[in-house]
Symmetry: C2
Subunit: 340 residues, 2 copies
């Protein structure tokens, strides 16, 4: 029997290793869709500091709580919050059972795509639309409606399912954090049940780690069969100050990392920042009109004004989507690494 | 060099193994403080069925949600809910700052240990006592008060800290479930923040897995310092139908195992039972006047009447504390195994 590692074989193996090692290194490097800039660096340095047992900044795994806004932070939110587009579609789908909607605002405006009348209906109008499409049914029925819509609806600009309009760099950040024993939560203004309909599949975030706006529910027994009815009464508005309130109520620990993209995330970022020890506060800044959208201080959706000033003043991480991300969506090819 | 495994050594090793194996088996056997009766058997058979990948009853780890009531299920609740005794002690501690309490009900009744006047004050009076002792402070301040009381107060009958009056067999059940990738939750009428003050240390249940009664909170910024204020407005009463409602709101999955001890747990048990696939519903029946307390249908604390009937009719697991548990509290020696 000859030695299988002959000189020729050994050279071949060496060559293979030479070729493969950089690829392996690249595969294991976190955040591959992030350019090597200050934002990526701040995330990796933070994670290394709090997970290094010899570091003064070490945090026990149980306390590695990371919270993320959803709309505009984990997926796009233009031309309107995707959940609002779901509500509009549900009004249209249910219109045949509600002939009165043809002549009643704000439903008439939805059916006629009358943006001006919709804007005039304001928050009160929106709550009526949410009441009609999100409540008056069991939690299981709502989950079915949301899943059906998510599987069928397409975004007006990209033609993609909404669940594909998620940010690849943020998916990588969620994965990276979980690989370092962080518990990743969504804390967002969206309806908790709507977000749960896709968060586990799309983000790997289980229902018990999804915190959002909630309606009062009522346990009911019909013919011995229990169910939980969603009523139209708002229980908690998970926006602005509502975010640290729900974090305290549901998680009961202060996060050490928080990411948002708008003024609605400011209090969550302040609450996170005010804890002791090392923390990371971050904002996704929508600066990429070409690959996504560019908006901040003047936007009616995802307005980013005060939080941007505070982020700059306090040295929080600001992610410049155009400059920091090699790709936006998973379905796109990555841009080549920039020369720094 | 001689072979270290000489014949003599090998005999020695075999002897050691022969002696050690039964001990190891005993150490690894779950639920050692449970007598080998029907209750223990039902728990072990359930866990084996849902964790066996080849079983038709297999449940994925992510869906192994187990919920437990606290008062009367994980710890004692006599002569009154321990949290109520905390509230009474806090009234007494704070009385010097509230001279008006000497002449105002229900505070006067608490200060004078006047049980009759307290009973007459009813639920409205209790809410006033909870409002005065549980709210009007930040969540962090409340956590401090609760922890201080828990470390200093002693039970009037046993003289033990309340956090030692926990049920050893239930601790073993929690451990056993977690070792089989269950996520264990408390779902109880107690104040969420009060239970969080000891649940992690005492039961190994982290704050985010403690669900209870909540008060409305308010995020506030004072001199740039954010905090969360507990207001006296009740947000959610986590009793009866409130339990499946909060399970749905916070966990978003239906449990496959639920344990309680009173009619306040009935709807949680019904909600758990109505899911598809194998499930386990259980009641702790307080039958041990000698080692703990004996009470059920007529008790003002932890009344167990309708739920007992439904448990019997539906074949739910009923734990007879006197007959099923070899010991009640961790500080007691275990009773010898019964001859079956």
């Amino acid at each position: 029997m000859t030695n299988p590692l002959s000189t020729r074989h050994r050279y071949g193996l060496a060559l293979l290793l030479t070729l493969a090692l950089p690829l392996l290194a690249q595969a294991n490097e976190p955040l591959p869709s992030w350019h090597d800039g200050a934002a990526k660096k701040s995330i990796i340095e933070f994670v290394q500091a709090v997970t290094d047992q010899s570091s003064k900044d070490f945090v026990k795994p149980a306390e590695r709580i990371a919270v993320f806004d959803n709309d505009g932070t984990l997926w796009s939110e233009q031309p309107a919050y995707f959940e609002l587009l779901f509500a509009f579609d549900e009004v249209k789908r249910n219109a045949p059972q509600h002939p009165e909607w043809k002549t009643t605002q704000p439903f008439k405006a939805v059916l006629e795509n009358d943006h001006q009348a919709l804007a005039a209906a304001g928050m009160e109008g929106l709550l009526k639309i949410f009441g009609a499409t999100h409540t008056g049914m069991t939690t299981e029925a709502f989950d079915d409606y949301a899943k059906t819509w998510l599987s069928q609806a397409r975004h007006p600009k990209t033609g993609k399912p909404y669940t594909e309009m998620i940010f690849q760099p943020m998916l990588e950040m969620l994965d990276y954090l979980r690989s370092q024993d962080f518990k990743t939560y969504i804390v967002s203004g969206g309806d908790t049940a709507f977000m749960r309909a896709f968060a586990e599949k799309v983000y790997g975030i289980p229902p018990e780690q999804v915190i959002g706006t909630t309606f009062v529910t009522a346990f009911q027994l019909k013919d011995g069969q229990p169910s939980i009815l969603r009523t139209a009464k708002l229980a908690h508005n998970d926006d602005g100050p509502g975010k640290p309130e729900s974090i305290d109520a549901v998680i009961g620990r202060r996060p050490i990392l928080a990411f948002g993209n708008s003024d609605g995330d400011l209090q969550m970022l302040q609450w996170t920042a005010a804890g002791s020890g090392k923390r990371l506060m971050g904002l996704v800044h929508h600066t990429d009109a070409k690959r996504e959208w560019a908006y901040d201080r003047q936007s009616s959706v995802g307005k980013l004004d005060k939080a941007l000033d505070q982020a700059k003043n306090n040295g929080w991480t600001i992610v410049d989507m155009a400059a920091d991300w090699r790709r936006i969506y998973p379905f796109e090819p990555a841009a080549p690494e920039q020369v720094q």
